[in-house]
């Protein structure tokens, strides 16, 4: 985690302002703009399947970003992120169905509601830390799951809740091509918000709490406040991602927000890189593509001896699941700083090409 702070050579920033800029250099800025433009026209050249994967990456990335703010930036472990994701999905559907709030307003409203719930859970969580916090959030996961199945007025119980498609100015955003832009919009907004958050006093306070909470407290940072705030912000993004997810599927079921999803979120930020904004996106993309890649690998092996021996084609769901566990282990052992760090290394290599010292 500290490797981020030791910059590679060739870093010529001299002023405080340039150190705090959103992009490392001009090239990074242009690259981001190019990426967004490329995504804007992507419905024209991607088939609907890839597009739906991109949409999934979108709302998972938003939720993973929230978790990264909590785990990667503030150092608070949460094993119950999926329930906040789920809460956002239910809240948006609930607001829309019961109070007839238009969907494009109910999505951010649901996010705010989720952040309130996050703060509620954050208040007891601010008292415990590390391992105990992990176990407490694990308990929160099961309690909230139980709440989802019980609160029929809110979630529809076992029948689930229906979420209307999004509609602005009479246009229904019900197809993948149209909904893609909504998700893209919120992804960009979230990532800009999070990047900017890390440039403020609060963001630096989070880092201080993570790096050494006692020193942070001595320097006048209110630990309880920042721990709870971090929970709130993290849940905000989780709720936002969840709400987008609900209105994409048009149906929210209570089954989906289980511990496996929480673990996937943790896997995303571990693989992407703890304490890295762009890592959250990379991790989400990795975790969405991983099952697809495993699927493709298994299918390309079909008919061969290996397939017959292990009956691979029947085992695709298990292979996908096992691969998730395996990549978590492998990343932690061999690449603990995640993809974002590797990306930085690759960029530095190009930048410094012949003489890297």
């Amino acid at each position: 985690m500290n490797l981020k702070n030791s910059r590679p050579c060739g870093d010529f920033r001299t002023s405080y302002k340039s150190d705090m800029s959103m992009f490392e250099d001009k090239k990074g800025f242009y690259l981001a703009i190019a990426g967004v433009l490329l995504l804007l026209i992507s419905p024209t050249y991607l088939d609907s399947y890839l597009l739906s994967l991109l949409i999934y990456i979108g709302f998972y990335a938003i939720a993973a970003l929230g978790l990264n703010i909590l785990v990667g930036f503030t150092g608070q472990i949460s094993v119950g992120h999926a329930v906040f994701f789920g809460f956002g999905a239910f809240a948006s559907a609930w607001l829309n169905n019961n109070f007839f709030i238009p969907v494009f307003i109910s999505i951010p409203l649901a996010a705010i509601l989720t952040s309130l719930i996050g703060i509620l859970f954050g208040i007891p969580a601010a008292r415990v830390k590390g391992l105990y916090l992990a176990i407490a959030t694990l308990a929160a996961q099961f309690i909230m799951e139980d709440f989802f199945s019980r609160a029929t007025w809110f979630t529809g119980g076992v029948d689930g809740a229906s979420a209307e498609p999004l509609k602005i100015f009479g246009i229904f955003f019900d197809s993948d091509e149209k909904y893609f832009y909504i998700v893209l919009f919120w992804v960009i907004v979230s990532f800009i918000l999070a990047t900017n958050l890390m440039r403020t006093r609060d963001g630096r306070a989070f880092l201080a709490v993570r790096d050494h909470y006692l020193s942070a407290e001595m320097m006048g940072i209110n630990l309880t406040k920042y721990r709870i705030l971090s929970f709130g912000i993290s849940s905000f993004f989780a709720g936002l991602g969840g709400a987008l997810y609900g209105h994409y599927l048009n149906f929210v079921s209570i089954e989906e927000f289980n511990i496996q999803l929480s673990i996937s979120f943790l896997a995303m930020i571990i693989i992407g890189g703890l304490g890295s904004i762009r890592g959250s996106m990379m991790g989400a993309a990795f975790m969405v593509f991983l099952p697809e890649i495993m699927d493709w690998l298994t299918r390309s092996l079909s008919g061969t001896n290996i397939d017959n021996l292990l009956s691979l084609s029947d085992a695709i769901p298990f292979i996908k699941e096992a691969s998730i566990g395996l990549v978590i282990i492998l990343f932690l052992i061999f690449e603990p700083n995640g993809l974002a760090y590797r990306w930085g290394q690759i960029r530095a290599w190009f930048k410094l090409y012949p003489f890297s010292y």
């Binding site: 985690m1 391992l131 407490a136 199945s149 566990g325 978590i328 932690l332």
Partner: protein, 297 residues
């Protein structure tokens, strides 16, 4: 009738609680000696239970032999997991350790589902009599056996730590790693031994649980249920883990009784331990027998 039902549930709760205590004990053993929170404890039970079942179903050898081979297998399994996965991560932040054991748990669960299917498989019958009558209560033979085995494990644990050389080394390591190392205790061996014993004991619990309820991936949930127990007893106290396990077992069955008789909310047997967990963390985060973390700057 209602009273009989309560007593029956409490007895069941006590025996299940003993089993929780055994799992909690093996969890604490790992935590105490190597400071690793093992989220994959439940999968140790699962792997052990399936291994024993496979030996019985495939080779139809007598139960005690299958059981013995399972124990040897799990010992090696525990050592391998520690050596391959946990050893490279010594000294990493706690989130990495937690995540790697979570990764292990997903991995093994998926592999077990792949190898043995997702359906519950009953163990072959081992006892001819289904239940015995003790003081007017119908206690299933398997429950009685699981209670006896649990107590046997606990006693042998106590003897092992009191009398044996390795047990002494493990206690020394838990007390002060550096001092133990400087006095010639091999920390690597102690870690490996802790994982081996933990995996072995978990396998016993897994087999017992499998005999009682049949084997399915549900056994792995024991690994999650263990958290309320260890938090109640204190994360680093073996005695606390046993007591915590028993309390949680009785508590969840009592909650089930309340649920069935009065509240009719359903599912309380599953959730009640977690409410208890939150309450304990709020009041007494280090449990009843745990050591308090005191931080000095």
């Amino acid at each position: 009738m209602a009273f009989d039902f309560l007593i029956q549930l409490l007895v069941n709760g006590f025996i299940i609680g003993l089993l929780y205590g055994v799992v909690a004990m093996s969890f604490v053993l790992i935590y105490k000696s190597s400071q690793v929170v093992n989220f994959a404890q439940g999968e140790f039970l699962l792997v052990g239970a399936w291994a024993c079942w496979w030996l019985l179903a495939k080779f139809s050898i007598p139960f005690y032999m299958a059981f013995f081979i399972t124990l040897i297998f799990m010992t090696i399994f525990g050592i391998l997991v520690q050596m391959i996965v946990l050893r490279p991560l010594i000294g990493e932040p706690i989130i990495s350790i937690i995540m790697v054991t979570i990764g292990l748990s997903i991995f093994f669960q998926a592999i077990m589902n792949w190898m043995f299917g997702v359906f519950t498989e009953p163990f072959p019958e081992i006892f001819t009599t289904k239940s015995v009558n003790i003081l007017g209560l119908n206690v299933q033979t398997v429950y009685l056996m699981s209670g006896l085995i649990s107590i046997l494990i606990m006693v042998s644990f106590a003897l092992f730590f009191k009398k044996s050389r390795l047990g002494l080394a493990m206690r020394a390591t838990a007390f002060d790693q550096q001092a133990a190392q400087s006095l010639g205790v091999s920390i690597k061996q102690v870690f490996a031994a802790a994982w081996a014993i933990s995996a072995m004991v978990s396998a016993v619990a897994g087999v017992v649980f499998g005999i009682v309820n049949g084997i399915s991936s549900g056994i792995a949930f024991m690994g999650i249920k263990v958290f309320p127990a260890v938090i109640l007893g204190g994360l680093d106290s073996v005695l606390g883990a046993i007591l915590g396990g028993m309390v949680i077992g009785i508590l969840e069955h009592f909650a089930h009784y309340l649920d069935v008789q009065f509240l009719q909310v359903g599912n309380l047997i599953r959730v009640a331990p977690f409410y208890a967990l939150i309450i304990i963390l709020m009041i007494k985060p280090y449990g009843f027998f745990g050591t308090k973390d005191i931080e000095r700057v």
